[in-house]
């Protein structure tokens, strides 16, 4: 369309102006400038400079004022779209779909390039927060390794094709009634896709439709089917819950609405306003939820049902709970040998559940069999738990494992001639026993739509570049069904197309423009008088109010229940893990999920919450088990299961169930891209249709070879001296007390502080005006890493790679310290279990900052609003400040980490933050750019800055709102009030450094009253600490 026309039409609706702005010549020119064909690395530096603030040479010359930096050009619009001011960021609501659930987000776009994703406050699963993975997805948008063209692979040859070629070919492939045609798609909740799918199956009635997701909650779904006769979706509500019992479940991580659940639980945990929730966890490996638990036992995944069954038994036997007749068998199902510890746990839990009737909830993890879910469902029913149900959006869908199995069968039977794979990467992540990769080769025509030319694409005849989620029109539904809109933030960088577009194309009728399809579908499904207005509103909010599904009140179905009981009985029958037949639990990875994010540097370098491991997956084993298996920390172990053998480095981790080992999926990719190739070990090789989650009876052998695992913290296993010291210090660094002790004696967190009054030798500086400070609540922090990624995206923090991490040169400004509290007196290799705690640490902005006085060039000094300013362009890089930082939160650019960055990747940079070059120190700035962004306009109109107006990236995205930022000189600001709380303390305060960041002590709420071991440690620590002079 002509620019003039464009200008007339645009306006009021910025989404529209964006969409068309993307088509306008000047944007095309911009794109040309940024992406001149495939000529990625041969761009003159000047062009980059126009686009972003990359320092490079000019920084080096900053000192020599005699040099004038290279000539810069200003490239104004020829026609500036109305409502757009260059250099002023805009926000657009859109969503990301993972595993068939849409997560709403708000994306910041700067001069037409999306630079940061945050949560959409209006979205039920986000509530303003966003997971680490969803935030990092924006890096994938700019990934230079993404495929840029259609490829046709025939008889060993590879041809570059255009869309028109494919359209021609498709017309032929999808001509008939669909006989011999099969579609393999990922799970999706998109109503539009459902519509297009319908259209496709209409025109190809004989075509087969299969949906596969490696990671799903199908077991839960099937569990409900067992109990209620029909598939339902489970909606636990933690806000009101007094007792939360998790059996191999990690609601804070792998649940689609983990953000909401975490938020609810945090509220319930509040010492004053909270419901005083108590968290029980029985799991085989430490999870985020497990760390937060008040009572946690490590039980092999295949033993978890035993414990649950015992709870059921106790509830019936000792607390007179009445199960439905058909389910009565459950109570009896608990006849298996069970340890003291497990009984103790079961007893406490049963008692609590009984006493909290109507205020408890039992959650079972996706890796547990449907029968176990069924039991939980029954118990929740009779306990009147805080669980809601809605109908499953696609109740007749077979489980993903079944689906892929059926497809496999169909393929080997030779009945499929054309296979269309929409997204996904089955050649890599389908169960190993299907040999999916090999099957693909036998299908005449295989078409793969994918972001990357990946393992599957390489085995298909056609590879079609897929548009990234931020490039496409679309929609989806939240976990609770809320209708969620997706709009493009930028025109497809690599000429990709979306799933619905391809599906529409192959269905052979109707429009193939995503934009049209989404509108058409929406227009059909809603009755809005003024559709345009409605549409605009929907895009603005990102969600459509009141579209959540009706909650249903299901009644259990006796017939099915009997089946469930037998199922459980059978399941309990199988032998338990032991020295000669340990189990390996395959889990979704906290960073690369099922492997689809393997080429994402931010995620690869994101330290796993518990192991602090980056750039690898490892076999998690408890120190004691490892000792008995004769495997050392970091030693490569050979795992034999079924036919397959894989070799993977071990990582010792307490809290790992005996004879149970955990291995994350998603690694060992071969065609992921430069970042993700050959990182870690492919655990899918152990995964079969029969045992997709827990592989029992494996053989584990040490190989004697050791492997350097790149962790951002010291390994759990270190020399005894350091080990004991670490144990001794934890109590004082991360203070913890049990809830009732705290309520009885609020001073408990300070009782053991004993140092001389903190007086300076000089007259203290008076800080007037706004004084920024932070409070971090250790009681609600769940260590989910969202803040780490948020900070990385906001502050242009480089990815440094495995080698550098190995040498402790990681750059993240926030690190989440993880401590284990072991029982005193145990040898390291005797340790089985240990309590874990998290403490987010970033620059605490000391008022008497040790780093400042030692800098010879005053590159770090204090601002009047109390920030510890780090001035990159003044820094000469002596690293003295870092040496003198007691928190070691300063990060140094040992090399120019941006040197080899693709220009696309640089498009993600936040122009409000300087990109640091080699040889300078950097650290957390309290997001000073966000402070300025609020302060300057406020000063312009002579108004004070309201509390909560400035929100640093970490605080913004924290799902539990554990981080609070504000003005300490304002007594009514939230942060001031939090610091008034008795839980508030400053780490290392005895050094008289006066940190601006305070921590709020951690509270435990154990049924048996006594505080966590850590509490004892606190005493122990404090006494010795008592003698310490500041």
């Amino acid at each position: 369309m002509s620019p003039m026309k464009n200008d007339k039409e645009t306006g009021l609706t910025y989404w529209r102006s964006l969409e068309e702005f993307a088509r306008t010549p000047e944007f095309q020119k911009a794109v040309q400038r940024e992406f001149p064909g495939d000529d990625w690395d041969r761009l003159p530096p000047a062009t980059r400079r126009q686009f972003l603030k990359v320092m490079g040479a000019s920084l080096a010359m900053a000192g020599l004022t005699a040099c004038r930096w290279p000539k810069e050009e200003i490239v104004p619009f020829a026609h500036r779209p109305e409502g757009r001011t260059p250099g002023v960021p805009e926000h657009f609501a859109t969503a990301m779909e993972l595993g068939g659930v849409a997560l709403g987000m708000l994306v910041t776009s700067f001069d037409g390039r999306p630079i940061k994703a945050e949560g959409n406050r209006l979205h039920p699963d986000s509530l303003g927060a966003l997971t680490a993975i969803a935030q990092a997805d924006i890096l994938q948008l700019y990934d230079p390794d993404r495929s840029r063209r259609l490829l046709l692979r025939e008889d060993g040859q590879q041809y570059v094709k255009g869309w028109n070629d494919f359209e021609a070919a498709a017309a032929e492939y999808f001509a008939g009634d669909g006989t011999g045609v099969a579609v393999l798609a990922g799970a999706s909740s998109s109503p539009t896709r459902a519509m297009v799918r319908g259209r496709f199956l209409e025109s190809h009635p004989k075509a087969g439709w299969y949906e596969y997701e490696p990671i799903s909650r199908d077991n839960e779904r099937d569990g409900t089917r067992l109990v209620f006769g029909t598939a339902l979706r489970v909606h636990p509500k933690l806000g009101a819950a007094g007792i939360v019992a998790c059996f191999d479940a990690d609601p804070f991580f792998d649940h689609p609405s983990s953000l909401r659940l975490a938020r609810e639980f945090a509220a319930a945990r509040h010492p004053i306003s909270g419901a005083g929730a108590r968290l029980y966890v029985a799991e085989s490996s430490y999870s985020l939820t497990g760390v937060r638990a008040d009572h946690r036992i490590a039980v092999p995944s295949s033993r978890v049902p035993v414990v649950l069954a015992r709870v059921a038994h106790l509830l019936v036997a000792e607390h007179g709970l009445l199960l439905p007749a058909a389910a009565a068998g459950y109570a009896g199902a608990a006849g298996h040998e069970i340890s003291e510890q497990e009984i103790h746990f079961a007893k406490l839990l049963a008692a609590d559940l009984a006493s909290h009737h109507g205020a408890g909830v039992i959650l079972v993890g996706p890796r547990q069999e449907p029968a176990v879910h069924a039991l939980a469902a029954v118990l929740n029913q009779v306990l009147g738990s805080t669980v809601g149900y809605t109908a499953d959006p696609d109740p007749d869908r077979p489980s993903h494992i079944e689906a892929i199995g059926e497809l496999g069968a169909a393929m080997s039977s030779g009945s499929i001639r054309t296979l269309l794979i929409l997204g996904g990467n089955p050649a890599y992540d389908a169960p190993a026993d299907l040999r999916f990769g090999e099957l693909l080769a036998e299908i005449p025509v295989t078409i793969h739509l994918s972001l990357y030319d990946d393992e599957t694409s390489r085995r298909c005849t056609w590879h079609l570049p897929r548009a990234h989620g931020l490039e496409v029109w679309g929609d989806g539904r939240a976990w609770d069904g809320t209708w969620t809109m997706r709009q493009p933030l930028i025109a497809p960088l690599y000429d990709g197309r979306s799933t619905i577009e391809i599906l529409a194309l192959t269905s052979g009728s109707g429009s193939t423009s995503g934009y049209e399809l989404v509108r058409e579908n929406l227009r059909k499904s809603v009755s809005a008088s003024d559709f345009e207005g409605f549409w605009r509103r929907a895009l603005h909010d990102g969600v459509i109010e009141g579209t959540a599904w009706e909650t249903v009140n299901p009644r259990s179905n006796p017939g099915r229940l009997a089946v469930a009981v037998d199922g459980l009985r059978a399941h309990l029958g199988v032998a338990q893990p032991s020295a000669d037949r340990p189990e390996v639990v395959l889990t979704a990875d906290s960073r690369v999920w099922d492997g689809r994010f393997a080429n994402n540097g931010w995620l690869q370098e994101l330290p796993d919450a518990l192991t602090k491991l980056t750039w690898d997956n490892a076999l998690l084993v408890s120190p004691a088990t490892a000792h008995e298996l004769g495997i050392g920390d970091g030693e490569v172990a050979a795992i034999e299961a079924g036919g397959a053998t894989i070799e993977v480095p071990t990582c010792l981790l307490p809290g790992q169930a005996r004879w149970s080992m955990t291995l994350a999926l998603g690694y060992g990719r071969t065609e992921a891209g430069q970042v993700g190739n050959e990182v870690g070990v492919d655990a899918y090789r152990l995964r079969t249709t029969t045992a997709p989650h827990v592989v029992s009876g494996v053989v584990v052998r040490p190989t004697g070879r050791s492997y350097g695992l790149a962790t951002t913290q010291d390994h759990f296993a270190i020399d005894t001296l350091g080990f004991n010291e670490r144990d001794r210090r934890v109590g004082d660094l991360v203070r913890e007390a049990s809830l009732d002790v705290y309520l009885a004696n609020p001073e408990v967190f300070h009782e053991h502080e004993d140092h001389p009054p903190l007086i300076s030798l000089w007259k203290d500086h008076e800080y007037e005006g706004e004084q920024w400070g932070m409070a971090i609540d250790l009681n609600t922090c769940i260590g989910c890493n969202a803040c780490v990624v948020a900070c990385q995206a906001e502050n242009n923090i480089p990815v440094v790679g495995r080698e550098q991490v190995l040498n402790q040169r990681e750059m993240q400004w926030i690190r989440i310290d993880r401590y284990f509290k072991t029982e005193p007196g145990l040898r390291q290799d005797e340790i089985e279990d240990a309590e874990a705690v998290f403490q987010p640490v970033t620059c605490v902005q000391c008022e008497n900052a040790p780093c400042e006085q030692v800098c010879p060039v005053a590159a770090t000094q204090h601002t009047n609003d109390g920030l510890n300013a780090m001035v990159y362009n003044r820094c000469v890089g002596t690293r003295y400040c870092s040496n003198n930082c007691p928190f070691k939160v300063r990060r140094f650019n040992f090399f120019n980490y941006h040197k080899h960055l693709a220009d696309t990747t640089m498009m993600q940079f936040n122009p409000e933050v300087t990109v640091r070059s080699r040889g300078v120190m950097e650290k957390c700035t309290f997001c000073v750019q966000r402070i300025e962004a609020v302060r300057i306009p406020a000063r312009n109109d002579n108004r004070p800055i309201a509390d909560g107006e400035i929100v640093p990236a970490c605080a913004q995205t924290c799902p539990t709102q554990a981080i609070t930022f504000g003005n300490l000189n304002d007594p009514d600001s939230q942060v001031s009030r939090l610091r008034e709380e008795k839980r508030s303390y400053a780490t290392l305060a005895e050094l008289n450094i006066r940190p601006r960041t305070h921590y709020l002590g951690r509270l435990s709420n154990r049924a048996d009253g006594d505080g966590p071991e850590g509490h004892g440690a606190l005493h122990k620590e404090a006494e010795s600490h008592g003698k310490e002079p500041a």
């Binding site: 001296l721 210090r729 006085q853």
Partner: protein, 486 residues
């Protein structure tokens, strides 16, 4: 010759300890002229001995390695070293402190021993001062190249600029810049000034125009006028009395780099004396290491006598005890202060991951020098030489232990680390030895390595009652003594 009678072993041996007899500082049958001959001869010989060439070839190629490493470092980034967070200072700063320490012997000998009227200094002070300067040159390189952005390192100096920024004078690192800078300058002045009369000797013996002009210009037209000597001696005395506090201040300031921080293992008040003692210790060790071969190859045993070596051995023994005392004091304070972090740091030194470095240090610095208690051992040149080398090793490890082991485990256990040097680290360090030796070899080749004028001043012939040794030398060199005329 009573002293010779005491030791029939060799006429070279003047290590007698008979209090009634003053040992001679120059042995053998030497007069003023023979001293001149011996010392100038070395400079005047048309071509140096083969051994010199061999050594020079080796050391200069090592120097090239140094420059290669620096080039690589500057173009690539300090990441080529093993540095990381928490250990932000590694080899570079260790080497810096090591070299500065070595750079203390010379000025100490020439100033403090001068003020203390230790005449035996005269034979070795020129040599030691030269070594000092070369050591300081090596030391100066490291802080320069260890910064992340060498090209803006000039911001460390108060130069007016468009940013109207100044350095932060509160930073110990800046104190360091000034201390080491001053020390280098003053040592150079001191060294050069003392050399003027000897340069004049070479000038006056010059047989070629070139040599005459070069040494002529360098000696500034010195004509041994007593009126000049008078001011010269005053200037020398003043420089000595200025250099004495300076030499003590330099390593104190270096120690502030650590003492002023808040790191356990660094933040302690004993550092200044501890560092100074260590510096003298290592300085003398290095002098001995170099002087033993040198006096042998250039036949200077009569001037740099066994007694000189013995005295240095004694000083090393004394300073080794001081250093050892400091080590134990640190442990006492760690325990007595009740500071848990301090306490752990020192436990960690002795038994943590870096224990190997710690015990190497203790062995070399405290145990090895104990052999000097035995007279026969300390007078055994080979033994002395080996010991001095071990002491150098030990002193390098002392700095390594202080810097690396303290940093590697500080307050938060989550940020503990383990520092490993890279090949570049090691090569750079080796290279600095190359530079040091190269400069040193050039010195012995082209400059008078013994202060002839000073040695002559302490020879028997320099005194009224010559010949005869009774109590000679007990009053000369004393500014205060003025002859009363009769």
């Amino acid at each position: 010759m009573s002293t010779i009678a005491l030791n029939p072993v060799s006429y070279l041996d003047n290590t007698g300890n008979d209090p009634t007899v003053r040992a001679r500082l120059v042995v053998g049958d030497n007069d003023f002229h023979s001293v001149t001959e011996k010392v100038c001869g070395i400079v005047e010989q048309p071509r140096p001995p083969k051994i010199w060439w061999a050594a020079f070839a080796a050391s200069s190629s090592l120097t090239l390695v140094l420059f290669a490493c620096i080039g690589y470092l500057v173009t690539t980034g300090v990441g080529v070293w093993g540095l990381q967070i928490p250990v932000g200072w590694g080899y570079a700063i260790v080497n810096f402190v090591f070299w500065v320490g070595i750079g203390h012997a010379g000025t100490l000998i020439s100033s403090i021993l001068f003020l203390l009227r230790q005449q035996w200094r005269t034979s070795i002070n020129r040599f030691a001062e030269a070594m000092t300067i070369f050591a300081v040159v090596c030391a100066g390189i490291f802080p320069g190249i260890h910064v992340g952005r060498v090209w803006v390192a000039y911001w460390l100096f108060p130069i007016p600029n468009q940013m109207s920024m100044w350095p932060n004078f509160r930073s110990p690192l800046l104190w360091d810049v000034f201390a080491v800078g001053t020390y280098a300058t003053v040592s150079l002045l001191f060294w050069y000034m003392g050399m003027i009369p000897d340069l004049a000797s070479i000038r006056d013996r010059a047989t070629t125009k070139l040599r005459f002009y070069i040494y002529g210009v360098l000696s500034l037209g010195w004509r041994s006028s007593n009126r000049h000597w008078h001011r010269f001696e005053f200037a020398y005395l003043l420089l000595a009395s200025l250099a004495t506090p300076l030499v003590l201040s330099v390593h104190s300031v270096v120690s502030f780099d650590f003492a002023v921080s808040i790191m356990p293992g660094w933040h302690t008040t004993i550092f200044p004396p501890y560092f100074v003692a260590g510096a003298i210790f290592s300085g003398f060790a290095m002098v001995v290491t170099l002087i033993i071969p040198t006096r042998k190859f250039f036949g200077l045993e009569e001037i740099i006598t066994a007694r000189h070596l013995e005295n240095m051995a004694k000083i090393m023994l004394a300073t080794s005890m001081m250093v050892g005392f400091s080590y134990s004091t640190e442990y006492f304070m760690a325990w007595y202060s009740g500071n848990v972090y301090e306490a752990f740091t020192f436990l960690n030194r002795a038994f943590g991951p870096y224990a190997w470095a710690y015990w190497t240090m203790v062995t070399c610095n405290v145990l090895v020098p104990q052999v000097f208690w035995v007279r026969r051992l300390r007078n055994n040149t080979l033994m002395l030489w080996v010991a001095s080398i071990l002491i150098n090793v030990g002193m390098w490890f002392e700095r390594f232990v202080i810097i690396v082991s303290s940093l590697s485990r500080d307050y938060l256990p989550t940020s503990w680390g383990y520092y490993r040097p890279t090949a570049i680290d090691v090569l750079t360090f080796a290279g600095s030895f190359g530079l040091f030796l190269t400069l040193f070899l050039l010195f012995v080749r082209f400059l008078p390595m013994v202060g002839m004028a000073e040695v002559k001043g302490v020879m028997p012939q320099a005194h009224l009652d010559h010949p005869g040794h009774r109590g000679h030398g007990d009053y000369h060199g004393d500014i205060a003594v003025r002859e009363v005329d009769v």
